[in-house]
């Protein structure tokens, strides 16, 4: 997978921070930086892309229901409804500039860099502000002459790479947990339950989603399954589904031509639909049932 951006031909680099005041929407502010910081940010970008391509050249599509490791290269389309926050950040223009934005780092939750290449294509890179913020509370020392001295000034430490990169069509993720926190995915996934159910109803008309929708509206894990199932709901056979539910102990019944999931089995049913529950008959007469928090198509 290629980045729709030329890292070696960067025309402009901007740096900024995201702050989160209590109870309000995140605010993104540009902070003016000098040539050296810009060079460091470009280096971070190159390192991030290097790490991604070293992991795989064919990243998997991000699925909200999947459990990921701390560093895994996955991608998500920028126009995916759950990525709307990140799309907003990427498409934002003329962000307010404030050189005093770093005076108060208490509310800072991320920092970002926005690059423009010579073809005018934009790339946004984000990183959670863990170290960037944490370094302020520590005592730093440096060698000024031949002795160590305490650094009196405020010091901010940039990380060695970004959590994710956003180009004109995709979000390239190096740390899936970063995507979750920066994109506010939990809230976005819960908010998209209605839309996802409507989309599933169109493809799986034989399933009654009313009970499932009410359950998923307050259960994030179920909401994640719904988001994931949406992309793999076409062509599901009703008999095969019912059979799989029965073999995995998921209680559901056909009433008036619609498959109704019994209370208490909503999550298990969604796991079946998301290909996460399966049965293996390796031992004769003793079928084994498993649930897969993480799976990969082979």
């Amino acid at each position: 997978m290629n980045l729709k951006f030329t890292i070696t031909e960067i025309r402009s680099t901007e740096f900024g921070v995201g702050t989160l005041d209590r109870g309000s929407e995140p605010t993104f502010t540009v902070v003016p930086v000098d040539r050296d910081v810009k060079a460091a940010l470009r280096e971070m970008l190159a390192d991030t892309w290097g790490e991604m391509t070293a992991l795989t050249s064919k990243p998997a599509h991000y699925e909200a229901s999947e459990k990921y490791g701390s560093v895994e290269y996955v991608y998500l389309e920028i126009d995916d409804p759950i990525a709307s926050t990140l799309e907003d950040i990427h498409l934002a223009v003329n962000l307010d500039s404030d050189s005093s934005a770093l005076n108060d780092t208490g509310d800072m939750f991320c920092y970002f860099a926005r690059f423009v290449d010579k073809k005018g294509r934009k790339l946004t890179a984000l990183r959670r502000a863990g170290q960037f913020k944490g370094i302020l509370g520590k005592r730093l020392i440096s060698i000024l002459d031949d002795t160590l001295k305490l650094v009196q000034d405020r010091v901010f430490k940039l990380d060695s790479d970004f959590d994710l990169l956003i180009d004109e069509s995709d979000i390239h993720v190096l740390r899936p947990s970063g995507l979750e926190s920066l994109g506010g995915l939990q809230a976005a996934i819960l908010a998209s339950v209605k839309k996802n159910v409507a989309s599933l109803k169109a493809n799986l008309a034989f399933i009654s989603f009313d009970e499932i929708a009410s359950y998923a509206a307050v259960h994030p894990r179920a909401a994640r399954y719904l988001s994931s199932i949406r992309s793999q709901s076409k062509g599901v056979d009703r008999k095969a589904l019912q059979q799989l539910c029965t073999s995995n102990g998921v209680d559901c019944k056909f009433t008036k031509g619609q498959l109704h999931v019994q209370p208490g089995y909503e999550l298990a049913f969604l796991e079946v639909l998301d290909r996460r529950r399966y049965e293996i008959d390796l031992v004769t007469g003793a079928p084994e049932r498993f649930r897969a928090p993480s799976r990969q198509r082979v």
């Binding site: 540009v30 223009v93 003329n94 962000l95 307010d96």
Partner: protein, 187 residues
């Protein structure tokens, strides 16, 4: 134009405001005063005229040296070059007409200048400078388009450029003179 809570380059912005009213100091130097001898008034006025403009030029050089540029995306545009003419007539000429013949008048003139400086500073009007007009620059205010995403900046930016026109959707690379005032790098 919005009033900001803080913002950087406070001294540079203050001196840029002084640069905005520098024609007034030229008027006062030419006109003279019966109270203050020319050997004091003229150098003071020349300094008040030259130093702030030198700072403005210096700020541009620093921005060039640091590569302190921004990509300004044109949304809603207004040509505000006429503001400069307006301010010349509305503000400078009445002050010029004020006779510096008594200490009370001098104090009144200085108080008026102080108020003007405070207003210009608070309202980010430090882009008002006759030199831009003299050197054939146009001054536009630029704000994000109505259909820009909700994270887009809400502040009105000032873009100083040699272009005659700006089209919505254009992106202009500009040096940052302050958090709200930008000067196009090259056309």
């Amino acid at each position: 134009m919005s009033i900001r809570k803080g913002g950087g380059l406070k001294i540079a912005r203050f001196l840029m405001v002084l640069a905005s009213i520098s024609p007034l100091f030229i008027f006062w130097a030419v006109k003279g005063s019966c109270l203050i001898p020319d050997r004091l008034l003229v150098p003071a006025c020349v300094a008040l005229c030259l130093i702030p403009n030198a700072v403005l030029f210096g700020r541009l050089q620093v921005a060039r040296h640091q590569g302190d540029t921004r990509e300004v995306v044109i949304g809603n545009i207004e040509d505000v070059r006429n503001h400069i003419l307006l301010y010349l007539f509305a503000m400078l000429l009445p002050l010029y007409a004020l006779e510096l013949s008594s200490w009370r008048n001098v104090a009144a003139a200085l108080a008026a200048v102080l108020f003007i400086v405070a207003i210009f500073y608070c309202f980010d009007l430090h882009y008002m400078n006759l030199l831009f007009v003299i050197f054939s620059y146009r001054v536009f205010t630029v704000s994000s388009a109505a259909d820009a995403t909700k994270r887009s900046g809400r502040r009105v930016l000032v873009l100083i450029t040699r272009r005659d026109f700006l089209d919505a959707g254009d992106t202009v690379t500009a040096y940052r003179l302050s958090d709200t005032v930008f000067m196009e790098t090259a056309q």
